[in-house]
Symmetry: C2
């Protein structure tokens, strides 16, 4: 029924691409764009949010910012029931060090362009449409991914949220206040009737769509992520003076553990299980000193949450055996172990219909990367829409999505938002 | 003949211990003493040198400082031939991050106390005695150990010395100028007749003397140190999206290399061969990003230089095989590969006689740690004198030498300097 207005749907892809480039320039990365670093609450993040504020207001959207900076830009035209549960679409704009310019940003600027397209097409929304900008999806600063959406979904209590700490030892509560956000952190949690539906547009961050020559992916499930921190404590000493049999080198032990993690993950029954050790801190970190303490992070994911937990258990056990054999200590702490999420069937179906209406090819798929949608899905009917990215590459400066795929994604998102907000 | 004056030899051990504690307070380590961090040319290093300047002048020594801060505090009493090759004794005062308060410092303050003791005992030196403070023995700042002594020995040409670079990208030449040192770097090289003999007092940094209940070690050889930097380049990507078989994780490759280094070193024919990976830098260093580049250092030493070079070759070959199998690249650069040094027989013998004269127990031994003496030995007759340290521990805050061993070391050093300067 909404398809009548949708005949006039026009996506301003040129403007969207230009905005993606403008956004990329808010970066602290020493390399030029497309390399991007945008850490939550940094000067660059704050400047980017201010820039967004202008875009939202230019589109006639009313902006609400919650106590940690999650931003809701609402379109509620004449005839729209302002009190009805809204339809939401959005993603994040923070970027890990030396990342690219499409991860997350496509979902926020794409949702904005979808709303502008609906406005131009004369869509008559019966419920509000929110463009959502989530705070701190990346774990870069506070060690925990999806901070904003976790708290919105009620899965991160206000006291734990306040005490998340960055490497400088500053609490999230202190940092957000310095960044200009205040108010009771308990207010971040959304009410049960906040959203009737939520859809996130995102680059695939994997190679499947490109390999199969498809325009779009309908995400029907999101993998279960888990983050575990390990600390290995051995015995330091002078690199010249302690003979090899007398050593309890924390880095040699950690190296053996990292090798074991790789092997245990590769040999797990689930082909979708992935394990990544991305950070490592060595003490005292001197060329001529035996490492006495090594801390490293493990990012472990699987579509099958039970398999993931089994692999995690096997890794912890093997690391303890390696430590015992080497007479070093190992401790671990589970930062998060989230369950996988099933997406909402009717929304996934709406995505299929919208893709067909635009003449785009598509397939159903799972997201192995996790997203704010993982947490939105725990409270509200949720799905995701993927577009291809070159070589499946993400979290790197050469991350790239073609304009025609951006257009396919935004057009399909717009049609889906029209359907979801039309009744 | 010198032993007459030596009957009156008195070591002020209490003052020496107090001075070691005063020196430890010149530290940028966030932890209190005995934890010490003193990086060359830092504010703490410069303040410590100023403090030394006062001590030297109080002892009536004339101070010469060379263009990179190597400091020579000379005692040339009446009857001493100011033009004769001198007798030198000294060590370094820079300390790696989170180190202890005895490594190096005992050799500088000990030499000063030895000279003060000789003055009190009425020793009539026939040639000058220099207390030497070497600049930048630790490789912490410029990546290369024994910068000062290398250059003094003529093994580090002025142009290469000038261009050594710290992590901030600043050249040694620029940094030394900011620290107040200038003059032609070619002037650091000592003339052939600078020293008739050189002796360095040092803590053992190993457990042998303590285990055998001995007071002193006469060092007759110094192990050959080598430093090699490796850079592994793989492929980055999102931790969630790239399946295990598709990965070329630089850290997983580096972990396997570190394990191989440990095994190759342990299985080498020489029991004295030691290998240490002490530093590692991971790019991009994010929890949810596959490492694309890992750089790590290898410190490799052996008393047997030929065996060390063989192990090094085996490590380089094995790392290349690991890299090829994983479809990543590895590059290496040899920062230094110094030959081992034999100490001077007559000086080692003089140490034995001096130890016997004081009633101290002692043994001959090799130094597995390297020291400025390694480079002094390439130009001048040189030996070292070791005192025990608790548990063989060094480069850690719990590094400790007992006052009675400090006294044994300084008394024996003083008697040796008396012998060497008496004719």
């Amino acid at each position: 029924m909404m398809m009548d207005a949708m005949k006039n749907l026009y996506i301003d892809t040129g403007r969207l691409v230009a905005e993606l480039h403008e956004l990329a320039a808010f970066s602290s990365c020493p390399e030029p764009t497309p390399a991007v670093t945008r850490v939550v609450y940094s000067d660059e993040d704050r400047a980017a949010r201010q820039w967004f504020d202008g875009l939202f207001r230019d589109a006639g959207l009313s902006v609400r910012v919650d106590p940690i900076g999650n931003t809701f830009a609402r379109w509620c035209p004449d005839g729209c029931d302002a009190d009805a549960p809204a339809v939401g679409s959005g993603s994040h704009i923070d970027a890990i060090p030396h990342a690219g310019m499409y991860d997350g940003t496509v979902g926020v600027l794409g949702a904005l362009e979808a709303v502008r397209a609906l406005q131009r097409a004369g869509h008559r929304a019966k419920r509000p449409i929110d463009v959502v900008l989530f705070t701190s999806e990346e774990p870069t600063r506070f060690g925990l991914g999806c901070t904003g959406s976790r708290a919105m979904a009620g899965q991160l209590p206000a006291d734990r949220l306040a005490l998340l700490t960055d490497d400088a030892g500053d609490s999230l509560d202190a940092v957000r206040r310095r960044a200009g956000y205040d108010g009771d952190l308990a207010g971040v949690r959304l009410s049960d009737d906040a959203y009737a539906a939520f859809v996130e547009l995102h680059i695939e961050q994997g190679p499947k769509l490109e390999e199969e020559g498809l325009d779009l992916g309908r995400v029907f499930a999101i993998a279960a992520p888990s983050t575990i921190n390990f600390v290995v404590t051995g015995q330091g000493g002078h690199a010249g003076a302690v003979l090899m049999p007398d050593r309890h080198d924390a880095l040699c032990a950690a190296a053996e553990m990292i090798h074991a993690i790789e092997q245990l993950c590769r040999s797990s029954p689930s082909p979708d299980c992935v394990a990544t050790v991305g950070t490592m801190d060595i003490h005292p970190h001197a060329v001529n000193s035996i490492p006495s303490r090594v801390a490293f992070s493990l990012d472990l994911r699987d579509i099958d949450g039970v398999n993931r937990d089994g692999v995690c258990e096997a890794i912890v056990g093997e690391n303890q055996r390696i430590a015992a054999r080497r007479h070093v200590q190992v401790e671990h702490s589970v930062l998060n172990a989230d369950p996988p999420a099933d997406c909402d069937g009717p929304i996934v179906e709406a995505l299929a219909e919208a893709a067909d209406a635009g003449g785009y090819t598509h397939r159903g798929m799972v997201s192995r990367a996790y997203h704010d949608s993982l947490f939105m899905a725990s409270r509200f009917p949720t799905a995701m829409l993927f577009i291809p990215c070159r070589g499946g590459v993400s979290h790197r400066p050469d991350e790239f999505a073609e304009p025609r795929h951006l257009e396919a994604g935004v057009a399909t998102l717009a049609r889906t938002l029209a359907t979801l907000s039309g009744s």
